[in-house]
């Protein structure tokens, strides 16, 4: 089961028309999701991580132009008909969003919002779907699920609402579950519970989970593999262990160095600002902020290359001093 690729993203580009000109938010991303794994996608806001996966869902606004290839279970999603995409969404591929407070429709009952997801891809009687909705609420850890199903979103706390959003997402047992910053809007204690729910779902149903976050701490706790994104590109990719043990890309190193750790006196933030995506820097987009930048970095846009057990987009990866281990 492990190792089988359920979703493959190849050379994905997303461009938005803006009043100030075209903005290329995703600039050639390659990425694979393996069956049943928990893949972490890390990057700061504006790195294109959310846009990449909204593109796979076909949920981008119409002013976005998407090219490249996304293959899910052998089927091409880019350029697929709206009907085809509707069939995929919620059945093979589903998504959890950042803000649970606004992700649920305030005027419909919780149970109905779950049932709607069931009805859209399965033919069930009303009673069956109600029963299944209660089951799902139970799975995501909501006490007294039968009573809660009749309530409205405003009667739930933020964490509870996020559980409901997860219940909706997994209702049809999708192959891939995309969780876009699922814990960012929540209290720290609640964050841990939500991560547990996601892990439980992944283990119990064998669902592959893509966890999008800017928080390496979250990744460290749950992910199997990690993709680091910067300025709309993948800059480093590897297993959680190798990436934390010997990160090769300077951006990854910077991210790790800025993590708070026990026994460390002072955090070391990455200097500079995220790039202006209307006019991204030439070559490696990170070079204006990189302490190891050389002339070669300003030339061609670097591709991912195998460096030991990691894939890195740093052209100078082999020349750089070995980074401090964070394991």
């Amino acid at each position: 089961m492990m190792g089988e690729k359920v979703m493959q993203i190849r050379d994905l580009h997303v461009t938005f028309d803006t009043p100030s000109g075209p903005l290329e938010a995703v600039r050639g991303v390659d990425l694979e999701v393996e069956a049943g794994e928990l893949l972490g996608v890390v990057g700061e806001s504006g790195s294109g991580k959310s846009v990449t996966f909204l593109a796979t869902m076909g949920l981008l606004p119409t002013r976005a132009h998407v090219t490249g290839s996304v293959v899910l279970e052998g089927e091409q999603l880019i350029g697929a008909s709206a009907k085809k995409m509707r069939d995929v969404r919620g059945r093979l591929l589903s998504m959890i969003f950042q803000d649970p407070l606004s992700a649920l429709n305030p005027v419909h009952r919780i149970g109905d919002q779950i049932s709607e997801m069931l009805h859209s891809h399965q033919s069930l009687t009303r009673r069956e779907s109600e029963k299944r909705a209660i089951e799902l609420l139970d799975i995501v850890g909501i006490p007294q699920p039968a009573d809660r199903a009749r309530q409205y979103p405003h009667e739930f706390s933020g964490g509870m609402r996020q559980r409901v959003v997860i219940a909706i997402a997994i209702a049809n047992n999708p192959k891939v579950l995309i969780a876009d910053e699922p814990t960012t809007a929540l209290d720290v204690t609640v964050q841990a519970q939500i991560l547990e729910v996601i892990e439980r779902v992944q283990e119990r149903f064998g669902t592959a989970v893509v966890l999008i976050t800017h928080d390496l701490g979250v990744i460290a706790r749950v992910a199997d593999r990690v993709n680091v994104m910067y300025a709309g590109r993948n800059v480093e990719h590897g297993t959680i262990h190798s990436l934390f043990d010997h990160p090769s890309h300077p951006y990854t190193r910077g991210l790790l160095a800025s993590l708070p750790r026990a026994g460390k006196q002072r955090l070391k933030p990455i200097t500079g600002f995220p790039p202006n995506m209307l006019q991204p820097p030439s070559g490696c987009a990170f070079h204006p902020r990189c302490e190891f930048a050389a002339d070669v970095c300003r030339g061609a846009m670097p591709e991912l290359r195998q460096i030991d057990d990691l894939q890195s987009a740093c052209v100078r990866a082999k020349e750089l001093p070995r980074a401090e281990s964070f394991v």
């Binding site: 069939d87 969003f97 992700a103």
Partner: protein
């Protein structure tokens, strides 16, 4: 829900009393009913004037006078009009029926087209259709009803008659003079122009409300959640978008009853349509206190009633309100 309605109803009664007292005060100060009576009936004896004062509750002491008026009003002991001693209720009843007919027609037409236009505009913000609808709505709210009434009359009655021999739509009354009995097609022809005048205002306002409300909803996260379920776009829009978009529109609608009635009053006057508006302007012009007070009560009561209806539908649409 039931208790919610009861509580609202319990609120409405004191409000009605306070507002009618304010109206009573304003009319006493603003129209001087006794002077109007003497003006219309210059040869009235002192006893007649005193009787007029007694039966209408026009005591120099405002509070005492109001209470007298209130008692007479509630017990059905209504004073006749100052001119010709006409009974008030039959006149008021007819006026109400006529206005209700015109108002309903205009509101139904107006809200229907207004909401549709608003939805069409919101679906492609910034598109050609949106710009067209938005600009038209702006022109619509910038044309006061008496202006559109004059221009429509000029075009469809006067000039149509000049060009084609007979006017397309009549411009005054409910039926031609001397007509008796009920005749629906004829009545509709008489109602077309006044309905359009009032409806223009409603369409213009509601298309803008609906547009901005739906735009807010379309940009919300739960619409994305709904789309991520793989349900049809139509269902996303109707089941998830509309209901949420209607919530603010309904709230505004309650506050708007006044402006719709205001438009009706103006329109009725121009089309000599025998409704509440004509009734008001006539009796106000003559300072006819016995005719005016019951009219005011009807208006205040209907404003409160529509507020109540809006509150109830608001609670019905939005579960967050219900449990407060």
């Amino acid at each position: 829900m039931f208790r919610y309605i009861l509580r609202r109803l319990a609120w409405a009664i004191p409000t009605l009393l306070i507002v009618t007292f304010l109206v009573y005060l304003a009319l006493r100060i603003g129209t001087d009913p006794v002077a109007s009576y003497k003006r219309v009936n210059p040869r009235a004896t002192r006893a007649k004037v005193q009787q007029y004062i007694d039966v209408n509750g026009l005591d120099p002491n405002f509070v005492k006078g109001y209470l007298t008026w209130l008692r007479n009003f509630v017990t059905g002991d209504w004073a006749p009009s100052i001119k010709g001693r006409r009974e008030v209720w039959p006149a008021l009843k007819d006026a109400m029926a006529n206005t209700l007919r015109l108002g309903t027609a205009a509101t139904v037409v107006g809200i229907f087209f207004g909401l549709i236009a608003g939805v069409f505009a919101a679906l492609r913000p910034g598109g050609k259709r949106d710009v067209f609808i938005n600009t038209s709505a702006f022109v619509g709210i910038s044309i006061p009803p008496f202006i559109s009434a004059i221009l429509l009359q000029l075009l469809f009655a006067v000039y149509w008659q000049r060009w084609f021999g007979e006017s397309l739509f009549p411009t005054s009354g409910v039926y031609p003079p001397g007509h008796s009995g009920f005749d629906l097609p004829l009545m509709i022809r008489y109602m077309v122009l006044p309905t359009i005048v009032v409806a223009i205002q409603i369409i213009a306002t509601y298309s803008r409300y609906m547009r901005s409300s739906l735009l807010d909803v379309l940009n919300s996260d739960y619409m994305r959640t709904a789309r991520s379920k793989g349900i049809s776009e139509r269902r996303v829009l109707v089941k998830h978008g509309m209901r949420n978009a209607l919530i603010p529109v309904v709230t505004i609608a309650a506050l708007d009853v006044g402006s719709i009635v205001g438009g009706l009053i103006i329109t009725e006057n121009i089309f000599s349509y025998p409704g509440m508006g004509l009734y008001f302007l006539k009796s106000f012009g003559e300072g006819d206190f016995p005719l005016l007070m019951p009219w005011m009560v009807v208006i205040v009561a209907s404003v409160l009633l529509f507020n109540l209806i809006a509150d109830i539908s608001y609670a019905w649409l939005d579960p967050r309100i219900r449990l407060e």
